[in-house]
């Protein structure tokens, strides 16, 4: 897509706002706060262990929030969301802000009641863009499993609602790279899965499909 991506600091459109009032993103300004997990840390077992989720959230995700706040304190970026900062920043500050955004998106991309076959608009879009759900799973697994080093696998949509799969390296994401609107993401940094699956990344990706939050995907697609 060559059209400019309008910046939407709340790409999910707060999909759960109707059901629960708590913020779903670490985007409140001055300073950023770490988003709460949308579920208890043990709720993703056995696909992701409680320890894995806790260290990921309270260790890695929290550290990115802390780093952003420290870096922007006293500057005009102190009023901005992580998504806004990541679009303007480069280097270390970009890494931290983008990782806040990415992790916010990741926790919402999974659910203890997720998995299974998609339903709703996302199901139709997957069939239209990939031919079948199985074809989508194969392609997404290849993107996630085949990435060299740290990064993320994303399902993205263009302006017309056509879906594609992209992988980004380290902290980067499709919003920064202008690759489309994020629909779902899977974190393929080793810390995302190592405490549960050790070196068996393929097992993790399979486990991800038992957790994928189609409600979140639908909300993003129709936002």
């Amino acid at each position: 897509s060559t059209s400019a991506m309008p910046l939407n600091p709340h790409p999910a459109g707060h999909p759960h706002r109707k059901r629960s009032p708590e913020p779903r993103e670490s985007t409140s300004a001055m300073p950023l706060t770490l988003m709460e997990l949308p579920y208890p840390a043990e709720a993703l077992e056995p696909h992701l262990s409680a320890e894995n989720v806790t260290v990921h959230h309270q260790g890695h995700h929290a550290a990115y929030v802390t780093k952003v706040n420290a870096a922007v304190a006293g500057t005009d970026m102190a009023e901005m969301s992580a998504a806004e900062i990541m679009m303007q920043a480069e280097g270390g500050l970009f890494n931290s802000a983008a990782q806040v955004f990415n992790h916010d998106f990741y926790w919402q991309s999974m659910s203890p009641t997720g998995g299974g076959e998609p339903a709703g608009p996302i199901a139709d879009a997957i069939t239209a863009s990939f031919g079948s759900f199985d074809a989508f799973k194969t392609q997404f697994s290849a993107a996630a499993g085949g990435h060299f080093g740290s990064g993320w696998a994303w399902l993205v949509a263009d302006d017309a609602g056509a879906l594609s799969i992209v992988s980004t390296h380290d902290a980067s994401n499709p919003v920064k790279e202008g690759l489309g609107k994020p629909i779902l993401t899977c974190d393929v940094w080793e810390h995302a899965f190592y405490l549960t699956h050790k070196n068996k990344k393929a097992d993790y990706i399979q486990a991800y499909f038992s957790l994928v939050n189609w409600e979140f995907a639908n909300a993003n697609l129709t936002a």
Binding site: H60, D170, E190, Y194, K198, N199
Partner: protein, 213 residues
């Protein structure tokens, strides 16, 4: 990297996973046995397996003069062969803590002259290595042209010499698989601790080889 004799006789390269010079548990408590076993028998072995497969594909494409295919294989080759090179150096650069000996001779003199002390060198390498973004490596290398030690970092499995021209002397793997099961997200603790299992004899041998190359 060692070339398997049988494969070499067919005119094809075949790389093998080098054995460790120590048991998986020998680096405890600095690096756990669980990590060492996974790191060597799973991660490093996978790089070797993939590298061999890619070698076959590369040789086939080269024989046909298929430039486009050769180019398409390069990223995977860089990643997997780089992984094999890096890990071979890494594992050889470690020794059980009971066998630890600080640098001596020419290596010690070079360290002293350039950094003032071993601690100062270690602090500098640590400071460069800890903040590596994502997956990568910290390196103590040798600049042949300048005749000096140098500190560098590389991303992913990019190998030091091909990327920077520096000869690798000692590498610190900061891919999360290298430390996560034991140190979790506290990478600085791992990097600071690894100096206790640094095999300075191996570093000295690499320096010697670099100087006479």
């Amino acid at each position: 990297p060692r070339v398997g004799a049988a494969a070499a006789s067919r005119g094809m390269a075949s790389f093998t996973l080098p054995d460790l010079a120590y048991d998986y548990g020998a680096l405890e408590p600095i690096i756990s046995a669980e990590i060492m076993e996974l790191h060597h028998s799973k991660h490093h072995r996978t790089y070797v397996t993939n590298m061999n497969s890619l070698h076959e594909q590369i040789e086939e494409a080269a024989a046909k003069g298929d430039a486009s295919k050769l180019i398409s294989l390069q990223p995977a080759y860089k990643f997997n062969a780089g992984g094999h090179l890096n890990h071979s150096i890494f594992f050889g650069g470690l020794c059980p803590p009971s066998e630890y000996e600080p640098p001596s001779g020419e290596l010690a003199a070079l360290i002293e002259a350039q950094f003032g002390s071993l601690e100062a060198l270690q602090d500098k390498v640590t400071a460069a290595t800890v903040p590596v973004q994502g997956s990568g490596w910290g390196w103590l290398g040798y600049d042949k042209a300048a005749g000096k030690l140098a500190i560098a970092t590389c991303a992913n499995q990019d190998p030091l010499e091909a990327t920077t021209g520096l000869v690798p002397l000692f590498g610190i793997d900061v891919w999360e698989h290298a430390y996560y099961l034991q140190y979790k997200n506290v990478r600085p603790d791992y990097v600071k601790a690894i100096w206790q299992v640094a095999n300075w004899k191996d570093v000295a041998a690499r320096l010697e080889a670099a100087k006479s190359a």
